[in-house]
Amino acid sequence: MTTSNKRIAKQTGKYAILTAALVLFAGPLVWMLSTMMKTKQETYKVPPSILPESLNFEAFHRLFDVQPLMWRWIQNSFTISALVVLGAILSSSIVAYGFSRFTTKYKDRLFPIVLMTLMIPPSILMIPSYVLFTKLHWVDTWLPLIVPAWLGGAYYIFLFRQFFMTIPQELDEATYLDGGNRWTVFTKVIMPLSKPIVVTTVIFAFVNSWLDFLGPFLYIKSNNMFTLSVGLQLLIGQTSQDFPALAAGAFISIVPIGLLFLFAQRYIVEGVVLTGSKG
């Protein structure tokens, strides 16, 4: 075999392995897409066909008929996520400014505590938090899902602080000479330079809020207050044999994040690696 033939064989082998693994990873998603376009009868066929006989979107009509609250849940999910994103950006950036620009002994003592809270397993606080929200009369409202985001999430404080540290202090000094104070430096100097980290935070806060299941599952009791995820969970119980409708519901819950990923893949990858390698 010549060298170039060898190289071609090697390349082909690599593609074969990659594609085989791809079938395992993308396969379940393709199966979902295929199932949601089948008729109910088609899904009971043995052996099942991989592709639907024709493109048919009846399952979506059935889904919204069986569960008239679907629209409501989609709106709820978007509203909650938007409020979480807004709170995460405003509060975390302000706190991160405190932790990056002041020289006080309290800063060095408190910041390790911020990082420590990242390492605390959240499920050990699940029950006592429920007790707290009961006493505050927040159960069956969106407040347990939204308010914590407005009070400085440790993860986003860390992201903002890391970014603020890279902005030269000389810019702050110049602003003080012009008669500016801490707040002017924050709003007029730091934030305008921080667009990349704001975008990253918007994406991460949205994704995390949209993916959250346990929070809304525990704290929200009324059906019309549900998020899409908790609503779908209810649907699994109601129509466990209507596979196309279930697949359609799963598809709807994936679309917003799928679209975000298409347009912001770079930010998501960088964010995961940044926080991963810093930990």
């Binding site: 593609y15 605390i120 400085g152 993916l211 690696v273």
Partner: protein
């Protein structure tokens, strides 16, 4: 004058971080304190006005409950078997995606997609794929002459199915390993190649030591996650069949919301916290022997 100015600046500092101080106190210190307090009482309901101190009897009751030891065994399975399997899976995928071929970026996108699927949607998809009657998996296996397998209904298979699901959504760990692999200096591979090492030897002598800090990080995160395994088990099979996927946190949830024994649920939470802290501490200590940090002699 100067000290007055400094005190003023410290005040401004506290104003800036005040959202975090409130959030940390309210959503962290208060729940944590509540847990420790109620663990020694017999309070049954979240807003209970009446309760008695019962000393350590919650802890005694906890250990005497057969369901508790079952949940502990199941959780140990997810930690001792699940964590190595998921971590190895992530590393293998990262190495696949680190291959130098055209169009690899498209492959990476598709491997990461499942990680962004909401957990309820993931569970729906897995029920469709693993359905014993109409699922695509059993249909594929029957072509190979393998009979119907009841994936979710079998006590022996439900935990492996959940671990497989974890591998499917392991994209974040894969990204961390991929970044680490890209940071391994090329000249090290060339050096061992000159020494006559083959691919396998260079993996153990160069790749593994160089990415060991990332392995430690991923193992710790995954260990903490698997100790808290709950949502997957709840949504996939409700902890069944016959308690086969009934995990520790599932037990906490049940103690609180089904048995209405909130004090018992908090006792279990504290026990879990101690257990996770201990295991993380041991992992960190052990890792000193295996993890290589650049710049260290």
């Amino acid at each position: 004058m100067k000290s007055k100015l400094r005190r003023y600046d410290t005040l401004i500092f506290f104003l800036f971080i005040s959202p975090w101080i409130i959030g940390f106190s309210l959503f962290f210190l208060v729940p944590f304190g509540t847990s420790v307090f109620y663990a020694f009482t017999d309070a049954r309901l979240p807003g209970a006005a009446e309760y008695n101190f019962v000393g350590l009897s919650n802890f005694v009751d906890m250990f005497n409950n057969p369901i508790f030891s079952k949940s502990l065994t199941n959780t140990a399975y997810f930690v001792i078997i699940g964590v190595p399997v998921v971590t190895a899976g992530m590393l293998l995928l990262a190495m696949l995606l680190n291959m130098n071929v055209k169009g690899i970026a498209i492959y990476r996108t598709f491997y990461y997609l499942p990680t962004l699927v909401p957990i309820v949607a993931t569970v729906i998809i897995w029920r469709l794929v693993f359905n014993s009657e109409f699922g695509i998996l059993n249909a594929g296996l029957s072509v190979l002459g393998i009979g119907k397998i009841d994936w979710m209904g079998s006590e022996g298979l439900v935990k492996p199915v959940i671990i497989l699901l974890q591998v499917w959504i392991s994209g974040s760990g894969v990204l961390i390993f991929l970044a680490a692999l890209k940071n391994v200096p090329k000249h090290l591979y060339e050096a061992v190649l000159i020494d006559g090492a083959n691919k396998v030897q260079s993996f153990f002598r160069v790749t593994l030591p160089m990415i060991s800090p990332s392995i430690l990080f991923v193992v710790i995160i995954q260990t903490m996650y698997n100790f808290q395994m709950f949502t997957e088990a709840l949504l996939l099979t409700k902890g069944g069949p016959n308690y086969a996927a009934y995990t520790f946190v599932y037990n906490i949830y049940k103690s609180a919301f089904t048995d209405l024994k909130f004090s018992m649920a908090m006792t279990q939470s504290i026990f879990l916290f101690a257990l996770i802290s201990l295991v993380t501490f041991v992992l960190m200590k052990l890792s000193k022997r295996f993890v290589y940090y650049e710049g260290e002699k």
